[in-house]
Structure formats: structure tokens, C-alpha cells
Symmetry: C2
Subunit: 197 residues, 2 copies
Amino acid sequence: MNNRTDTRERILDSAEQLLATRGYHGFSYQDISRPLGIKNAAVHYHFPTKADLGVAIVRRYRDMLKAASDGFMKFGGSARLHLEAYLDFFMKEACENQTMCPMGVLTADYFSIPESMREEGSKLEQEVFAMLIRVLEVGREQGELHFEGEPRTKAVMMMSVLQGARQLARMMGSDVLATAIEELRRELYVEPSTAAA
Amino acid sequence: MNNRTDTRERILDSAEQLLATRGYHGFSYQDISRPLGIKNAAVHYHFPTKADLGVAIVRRYRDMLKAASDGFMKFGGSARLHLEAYLDFFMKEACENQTMCPMGVLTADYFSIPESMREEGSKLEQEVFAMLIRVLEVGREQGELHFEGEPRTKAVMMMSVLQGARQLARMMGSDVLATAIEELRRELYVEPSTAAA
DNA sequence: GTCGAAACTTACTTATAAGTAAGTAACATT
DNA sequence: AATGTTACTTACTTATAAGTAAGTTTCGAC
């Protein structure tokens, strides 16, 4: 059982990395099995089809995000700190291996991935979106975050910027993502000039 | 010669569409040849390798953008109208067939496309980026556009939002992109509140 | 009317992806 | 000590992608 979980988990780790780097059609079972020193069919044992594997990756990512978010709520949970944690995590993940945002992968390959993966991706998207909106709402109430208009609109802008910048950074260099995140922080944290003077 | 150009151009049209819909690894020469009623090898005649085809698609897109931008300059060319033309074009292209932004495709598949395509993509990126920065600079001087900070930073944000929102719209629906573009316009066109009251 | 080049088609080859069926080693249970 | 289940491996099959070599048609120039 220890061994079982181990191999399964290692496959998922490797596949997640490959998916985020090369997209759904950009890697094969061989790319997973060879570096792990196992056989192709071993991967099929744990994940009969590539669709199963894809779904499992997204599901695990959802679980991880949920756990991280829940864990954060337990510590008082200021909206600003919650957001900071997310941005730090996002930035670190992006810079370490130049991967795409998981939502970026899913939307890029959207019309060529199995239906089951699309469904799982849709759930992830709704959860991330809901989380962001919630943080923005609470943050504004707490006076920690500042923005005009609907939280939903701001959430759309933030998700788009993060995903877009992370992808652009692969081609243009990581400072593009750093610039974008810095600007997002500035917009949200600095109070509008009405309070000044 | 008429016929030559015709088939070549039709191949490019079809391949461009496929690339923007399914990514570089998501389509094959068959997907191109079959609907056109030609043979697989006919595609290879015009584009010996898939890398050649990919490069040609990006190159043609660059040429098209350059022509459109140049054409716009001839008509007086207010920065705001130039930007409007680009946003309209972008929105229309996205909504008609739920394609990705060309830069989105290139960055998503970045580590699994041929080197030659990466180089061509890099040129496209620099041109789009330069164009955007220029429009922002001129627009601010003309008093048509309003934003804080460096034009480069604003350009990074805009490119990221456009690319990110266009991809997210494939999963979440086209109103996400509409919302994002509307918000971009609002930010740029509405003067900051210091001028009011 | 023939020659040659352009624009293909026919008919392959080679590699790889995804998946399966049958067998085996280890270990856990009764 | 036999039995079964888990976690694999070996050895395939099938499909498809990418590319190539050689032949064919068309059509304009000479």
C-alpha cells in the first residue's frame, strides 16, 4: 500500500509537470515511465487511459488548492494575506519550471482534451473563481483591498492577467510575470488618490 | 500560379484555424488535407515539414498585422481609434470560432514546438508589444488614453489580460472576454477622478 | 509538337502513441 | 501451505503522425 501510493503519486507528480510544461498532447506515457524506471503498462495499471490520468491530475490539484485555502482560513485569514499566499505560490510555481497555469493548460487544449477532463477543469475554474471573488469581497469590506466596480469583474481581470502573464513569461522571460503581479498588488493595495492631499 | 497560390493559401487558412483551435500537437496533415479534398502529400509539397508550416502561419500573421497597422497609420491614426480597431479585431476573431490568441498558442506550446517557430513567435511578440507601447505613449500624449506608470507596464498588463481572458472564455463563455475588454476600455478611456468635482 | 517545370497523386516507410492480454513476483490472510 | 490480491512486466496490437520517393497531369514557352 505504501509502495502503491508511492508509484501512483510519483506518476501524478511527473505527469502534472509534463502537462503543465508541454500540454496534453505534448507528452506520452513513455515520457512518464522512462524517468521513473517503470514500464509503460505500469502507468496504464494506475491510469487505464490518458483521460483518467488527466482527470486525476486536475482533481488532485483541486484538492490541494482546497486544502491550502481551508488551511489558511484557520489562521484568522485576512484577505490580503490569503491573496499574498496565493500570489507567492503562483509566482514560485511559475518561475521554478516555467510551467503554465493549470487553467491555462486546460483552456489552451480545451477542444482537444477528453470531455471528462473538461468537466473537471470546469469545476476547478469555478472554485478558483469563487475563491478569488470571496477574497476580493472580504478584502474590500475589511478595508485591506481597494478596487472599483464589481468583485466579479476584478476577479476576471486578475485571473486573466495571471494566466496570460504566466504564459507570456515563458517566451518573454520571467520579469513579465513579476511586473504583472507587482502591478496587480499596486492596484489592489494602494488606496486611490481621493484619500490623499 | 493562380492555382498554386490558391491551394497554398487555403492550406494556410485551414492550418491557422486548426493551430489556433487545437494547438500545434492537436492537428495533423490529414486534418488539413481531407476537408480541402487534396492528398496529404500535397500539403508536404507546399510545406515539407510541420515546422515549415508552423513558421509560415506565424509569418503570415505577422505580415497581416503589420499591413493592418500600417494601413491604419495612413488615416491620421488616433491612438484611440488604432486601439479600438485592434480590440474589435481581437474580439471578433475570438468570438467567431473560440480560437486562442496566436501568442497564446505559441506560449502554451512553447517548449514543444520547433525552434524555428519559437524564433518566429518571438518576432511576433516583439512587434505586437512595440505596437502596443507606441499606441499607449502616443495616446497619453494626445490625451486620449489615461493610465498610471510606465507604458511598458501597461502594455504587459493589456497583453496578459487579452490573452488570458481569450483563453478563459473558451471554458467560461465569451462574456468573460467581453467583460475584460470592457474593463480595459474603461480603465484607459475614463479620466481619473482628480479631474471630476 | 515537345520540353520542362509546377502542382500535384500514389504508394510507401518509420516511428511513436495508446491501449490490452496474459503472465509473474511479493506479500498478506486464513 | 494454499489462496488471492496488489502491483507490476512482457509482449503484443492498432492507429495515426510525419515524411519520402517516384510517377502523373497540366500548361505555357519555345
